[in-house]
Amino acid sequence: MKNFLWALAVVIIFGGGYLLWTDSAKAPTVESAVNSETVISNTDVDNDENNAGAEDNFSASVAYSSEGFSPSVVTIKKGETVRFLNTSNEKTWPASSIHPGHRAYPGSDIKKCGGEDRGVIFDACRGLIPGEMWDFTFTQVGTWKYHDHMHAGKTGSVTVTE
């Protein structure tokens, strides 16, 4: 019995190590995950020329501070945009639940941060610096939980209706 348990432990350890190793080969790097299309810096907010690529018609705004996301619950309609603004002194990385894979919102996956689908997944794909903001347009109806990838206990939700 004891030998069987040790053999089981060896299989789990080596099997887990193999899965981790193969998984890491596909994981995005932080440097390659910059979402330049929807992220604007605070220094650009008052400059219309620099805001040319930013969404002006967002429907809800969520501020991130040291206390977490506020409001932590927002409701919007399908196709509307939520703006996440970092008002804290730390970086924040809003992304779909569940940490750390970010796969709850349909189509989202942290592994897509470095790929072509980067612009359509509910994932900032990097830490937003203080004052920076990130917009995401919700096209799927439902209640979508999200969190700060860099502070996993800070969470919120967006309810999207027809």
Binding site: H99, P100, K145, D148, A152
Partner: protein, 128 residues
């Protein structure tokens, strides 16, 4: 039978402490978020904090697997995991499993501490 049950407990708890440091080495951003901000501010270097804690986890994991007096690491593990749950209460979708592991660690503590006391009682001193 009791030895096998204890071994299963030790393997299970050890895995919960040996997996995270390896995973954190490969993907640190997915793990640093579980530390409370005051601790990150106090240390001032997320990477240092993450990997230092990883070393502690490995020591505890190896201790509970191979060393004696496992009631010591099991109690420390229960406290560590309780802290993770408390400081990440908002992430209950993830940390709910930690509550189960806390119970496992406490069970191991109760059993191994009882065994140690019986040993020390029969031999006239604490076993080493």
């Amino acid at each position: 039978m009791k030895r096998s049950a204890l071994l299963l407990l030790r393997l299970g708890i050890a895995f919960a402490f040996l997996y995270p440091p390896v995973a954190a080495y490969i993907d640190p951003f997915s793990w640093i978020g579980f530390f409370p901000q005051f601790l990150r501010d106090a240390v001032g270097n997320d990477t240092l904090l993450l990997h230092s804690f990883g070393v502690v986890e490995v020591v505890l994991g190896v201790w509970i697997l191979f060393a004696r007096k496992v009631f010591i690491p099991s109690l420390i593990m229960a406290f560590v995991l309780s802290g993770i749950v408390v400081f990440n209460w908002g992430a209950m979708d993830i940390v709910f499993r930690d509550i189960s592991i806390v119970a496992m660690a406490l069970a191991l503590f109760v059993i191994s501490y009882g065994d140690e006391r019986r040993k020390s009682g029969s031999s006239g001193g604490i076993a080493t």
